[in-house]
Symmetry: C2
DNA sequence: AGGTAAATTGAAATCGGTTTGAGAAAATAT
DNA sequence: ATATTTTCTCAAACCGATTTCAATTTACCT
């Protein structure tokens, strides 16, 4: 059923029908009601691609998916979906080829110029992130999930990684820990940097020297958690506490500690960051995991919301949202208890 | 840069340019080469939405994301992405509102009629899945990831869930286990049914009676694994082995066993299904987890491939791919050792 | 050279809508 | 009753490509 045909059936012109359906004020309420009702009855729906071509609006938000296929991603998207379900807006997932710099920039450029999306969400930004500069320059609406130090105004939503880790670390210090290891995310992303800063600032403000031997970076996997935790714990001056970047990392740390006969919560304390997953909860781990918590899903929902606002005309420069992070103490943290090696 | 403008710069008609770029044979190689080269130099790219409108082809595959935001999903999509990266095809993620039947059918109908995607991938089909009937009826190309018993021809890719679980269960029986619990996925999906069949057939062919008290269904979460495992293990005649639907479920079972002081691999054997995640590997668990393994990512890649073939004209009725599942034995399985309660 | 076949090229129609600018009808003001 | 404003409707232009059909050029034969 095409517009022309449909209009003819109603005895109206295509113009009037189009206006009636798009809510323009020039059409009387009586007519509009009739048009809407008949559209439902006869099953008329405007051809999306014709509308897209004509209006330039696509009704889609682009999200670039890193090669790694992180488990966070699904949660974030589920969150976005929650918000977009009522809207007439799709989520377009753009796969990223290889992590080479040029290819990445190329991808974003092409995406921005391709008219396939109305806006883009940029993930895991780096301190000096050229993607942001590029999108800004191209005039493509975008929202950064995370932050960047780059000298280009950009709307962002981020969680207070620095504060979260500072509090986590400070709490461990308050429990008497001085050798606190940090298993952070991959180097390069701003969030990893912020967490690093939070960690260092907590140590320094308590006069504890930072030991580079106790800092590691890597993907958020069980494997990474295990490997680093194990190697740290085998050092002569082993750490008595860990700050970890993710639940998976924490699983690895638990495993490493167990494998060495160490008790989590007494011999070794652990605080990890929990993005809140439906399938793996910090409270259920044994012992239950103390965590800095912030829902990835909620972030997705809010990001979708902000993007919609952006597209509705809200100024990008005024969108800066920093979410506080809860610190939830459970059984995996306890007072220090020094052990002889 | 528009086609008209670009063509003028080249001193050619839009027709010729369009043909050159789309690889039509009517244009000489010399001209084509020049056009392609200049297109790159001047940065001309056809407007996607004009092409979509004109050709009716969208260049997008739709995937409906369930509300649950399962962790499998990201892996599957990453796999799809791997295949589609070279193609000019997007992945459109369609959020599913609430799992009410009507809403779901409505969603698929609208999606199919909306011209936003060229094909749809249907997940977690049910034995009698009306979505399949609908899509078939509407003539929308689709591929089922999983299978359905519905009396409508449909192209599918599935893993041999029945065989996998049968082998897993048989292996446990061979080790002497007779009280084998099954923590399956949510009831309703075909894969859960197939696993159930595999489980029962293994027991029956060894003359072991099926005990409904040892069968549970639920989401693939640590929580579900723990709760059911715990309650099973607290029964007077506790099971000595578990067959589990996912790695997360296995984590829960491990936890439950530990909490009761039982040793995995000796007191209790566990085999779970492993979809192969980069962030959590069966081999790394302690003790390492025996698993039926099949890569979700590979399935995504292949599904994308099959959809492309479908769109290229391959007959849907001839696409039926059943993947065998590896059974990988590790430390979590061992000979039965009956304990007194 | 002249005629035919083959290889190129282009003008114009088309995809299915939105929106501008203008006209007709109805309502209000003078 | 006429002029003016307001409300509603429409014809036609346009978005930016693809593709049909016809025309032109080049290549090949005799």
């Amino acid at each position: 059923m095409k517009l022309k045909e449909f209009a003819k059936q109603l005895g109206l012109s295509p113009t009037t029908v189009s206006r009636a359906l798009s809510g323009y004020p020039e059409v009387s309420e009586v007519t509009r009601a009739r048009v809407v009702q008949e559209a439902v009855r006869l099953g008329y729906r405007p051809n999306v691609n014709a509308v897209r071509l004509k209006t330039g609006r696509v009704g889609a938000i682009g999200v670039v998916m890193g090669r790694a296929g992180e488990f966070h991603f699904a949660e974030f998207m589920a969150g976005m979906a929650e918000r977009l379900i009522t809207e007439d807006t799709d989520i377009l997932v753009i796969p990223m080829a290889d992590p080479e710099y040029d290819a990445e920039m190329q991808l974003y450029r092409r995406l921005a110029e391709s008219q396939r999306v109305d806006a883009i969400i940029v993930h895991s930004p780096r301190p000096n992130d050229q993607r942001i500069a590029l999108l800004h320059e191209l005039g493509m609406p975008f929202l950064v999930h995370g932050r960047s130090d780059i000298d280009v105004p950009h709307p962002w939503l981020d969680i207070d990684n620095e504060g979260a880790v500072r509090r986590a670390t400070s709490h461990l210090i308050a429990l008497g820990h001085t050798r606190i290891a940090m298993i952070n995310g991959r180097q390069g992303a701003t969030y990893a940097l912020h967490r690093d800063i939070g960690y260092r600032s907590a140590l320094q403000s308590h006069g504890i020297e930072v030991d580079p031997q106790l800092i590691a970076n890597g993907n958020f996997t069980d494997e990474i958690g295990f490997r680093f935790a194990r190697s740290f714990l085998e050092q002569p001056k082993r750490p008595t506490a860990f700050v970890a970047g993710s639940m998976m990392t924490a699983l690895g740390i638990y495993r490493a500690a167990r494998s060495l006969g160490l008790q989590i919560g007494s011999d070794v304390s652990v605080i990890a960051h929990d993005d809140v997953f439906p399938y793996l909860t910090a409270d259920n781990m044994v012992p239950s995991l103390s965590a800095t918590r912030s829902s990835m899903r909620a972030a997705g929902t809010r990001c979708a919301d902000l993007v919609l606002q952006l597209l509705a005309g809200r100024s990008p420069t005024e969108i800066h949202e920093l979410w506080p992070v809860e610190l939830i103490l459970r059984e995996s943290t306890g007072p220090v208890r020094e052990l002889q090696t």
